[in-house]
Point group: C2
Chain length 331, copies 2
């Protein structure tokens, strides 16, 4: 056996045994853009396939300022207090621009990051949403194989990242701030329709009454949405929490468990994971097919054809035809 095969064998054994360093190393491997690392990643994921234990994958979104880190720290500490192992994966499509958030994540969740039953992994510095999606999806599989009970996938509420996180979660939570009635409309309808549980944070001190009213407003808005087959009576649901005072976190967790149990018992859990797997397979095929345009010799030929199109020597359609029947030939 060669070194590569031995490595992934060893790594998979150690991941299945719940070794944190092996998990961290494996996530670094799936994040790598190098072709040999990619091959090793596929090998490793294939060895771990079927060994996944059924963690609860919880997607969590919320705009900056809503108290997301404070919530995750308090909620995560509560879960580890219940004897559960918790992994936190951050998805930040903008991290490439802001220069990464490794330090940020560790200091944001100081207590949780020191908890032996918690594992926090910030978003890598990758600019393409496609790359972030694949990395996060594979990191989830690795955490699940490593025996985590709950995997929190955190994202900021910008662009397509919420849809992406919802597409890899069993439950999708939206963390909201107390607000006046007019501001309700700030939440895009499409995002509301993806949410399973809305959590209105900061239900403490001066904001407590506003939070309660905001919660009632959102509960009313949720009732106006079309009923989804994957929801039992009473869901999607809006609840108030206070991450700072650690209030309402147990009630929120009970709601998550109730919803997840019902979906498991009624086939929706498996159906959703199957549909998600299909979605990511198709997305990855499309993305990798388009990647061919960025590699030589195709990239070079495409650039030359583009120059001819620009100066009018070829029509766009004719140039596309030349490329597709030449450098991009399917035969």
């Amino acid at each position: 056996w060669n070194k590569t095969a031995m490595d992934t064998d060893d790594l998979s054994t150690r991941i299945l045994a719940g070794e944190r360093r092996a998990l961290a190393r494996a996530i670094t491997l799936v994040e790598s853009g190098r072709a040999d690392h990619r091959a090793q990643s596929l090998e490793l994921l294939e060895k771990l396939r079927g060994h996944e234990r059924a963690a609860m994958r919880i997607g969590l979104s919320g705009t900056p300022g809503v108290g997301k880190s404070t919530f995750i720290e308090a909620f995560g500490m509560m879960l580890t207090g219940l004897g559960l192992r918790v992994a936190v994966l951050a998805v930040d499509p903008s991290s490439a621009r802001s220069g990464g958030s490794i330090l940020g994540d560790k200091t944001r969740m100081e207590r949780l990051s020191r908890d032996r039953n918690a594992f926090i992994r910030p978003s890598p510095s990758q600019s393409q949403l496609g790359g972030v999606a694949r990395r996060t999806r594979e990191a989830i599989d690795l955490c699940e194989a490593s025996g985590f009970d709950v995997i929190l996938i955190e994202t900021v509420g910008v662009g397509q990242s919420e849809t992406m996180v919802a597409e890899m979660s069993d439950l999708f939570l939206l963390l909201l701030a107390p607000a006046g009635g007019d501001e309700l409309q700030g939440v895009k309808r499409g995002i509301m329709e993806m949410a399973d549980i809305l959590l209105i944070n900061k239900a403490d001190g001066d904001l407590k009454a506003t939070a309660t009213r905001t919660c009632a407003d959102y509960a009313g808005a949720l009732r106006l949405l079309r009923k989804r087959p994957q929801d039992p009576e009473g869901y999607p649901k809006a609840l108030t929490v206070s991450a700072v005072e650690e209030n309402g976190l147990d009630t929120a967790w009970e709601a998550m468990c109730e919803l997840n149990d019902w979906r498991r018992a009624n086939g929706h859990f498996d159906a959703r994971r199957a549909a998600q797997a299909r979605h990511w397979f198709e997305a990855e095929v499309r993305e990798r097919l388009l990647e061919r345009l960025t590699r030589d010799p195709v990239r070079g030929v495409m650039g030359e054809l583009a120059a001819q199109v620009e100066n009018g020597a070829l029509t766009p359609s004719a140039a596309a035809q030349v490329l597709l029947e030449g450098a991009l030939s399917a035969e």
Copy 2:
């Protein structure tokens, strides 16, 4: 020479001579999805390449109810009155659902459709934006080769169709209704940034004062946008018009000519057409590459792999790898 070659030779000669029936037939050809028609289209467009006269391509967008058809009819009649030949192409990505709009377009612009110097062509019933884009782009080339002086490309303000039309126009106009200050925000910033001239319609009767105020509001909003290199002093510009009373149409046309002349004199006209040609070349390559996924045998293999991914026999990444190295192999 075979029949195909003879056909496109004859067709191109007749298009260059300005024959309307030949133009209509050629547009039907580029709209066709059949492979042999596609090959003939490319042949025809290649024969006409370089023969294009420099028509002014004017993109026009506006939400339903703003008076778009009335404006196009009045503006088109004014242009033909000046001795210009005018082509109107409608882009309606939703026409596949609404069952086409051929009758609608002809009755909407009754006078213009009977004008010998005008040519009105509605959107074909195609559902994919990509297909609509290629068809419209090629129809523009055909109209230009056929000697039209002005080509109006009309679209409704939904989804990506405005961006698409702006990407194939020399000038992009936004037709707006008189409105209160609050409603200004209804125009998406991205659309505002693409617009060269804003026309506030219905500056007549009871709405005249409101239209004048709305125009001033938009002029103020335009001044807040970042200065673009392709604009001379005073542009982008907001003007009032009344399509019903045929007021302000001449002033609007003068502004379009002034802007277009300046851009031609300063290299922006050619630069924009070159950048647009490159954009459409790249878009068509991407679209046709992804089309391969919908054709057998790839489509069949992809379906089988998706089923294996759904039942957990393969990870999404591994299945994508199998497809890309197998049925979609680049070698």
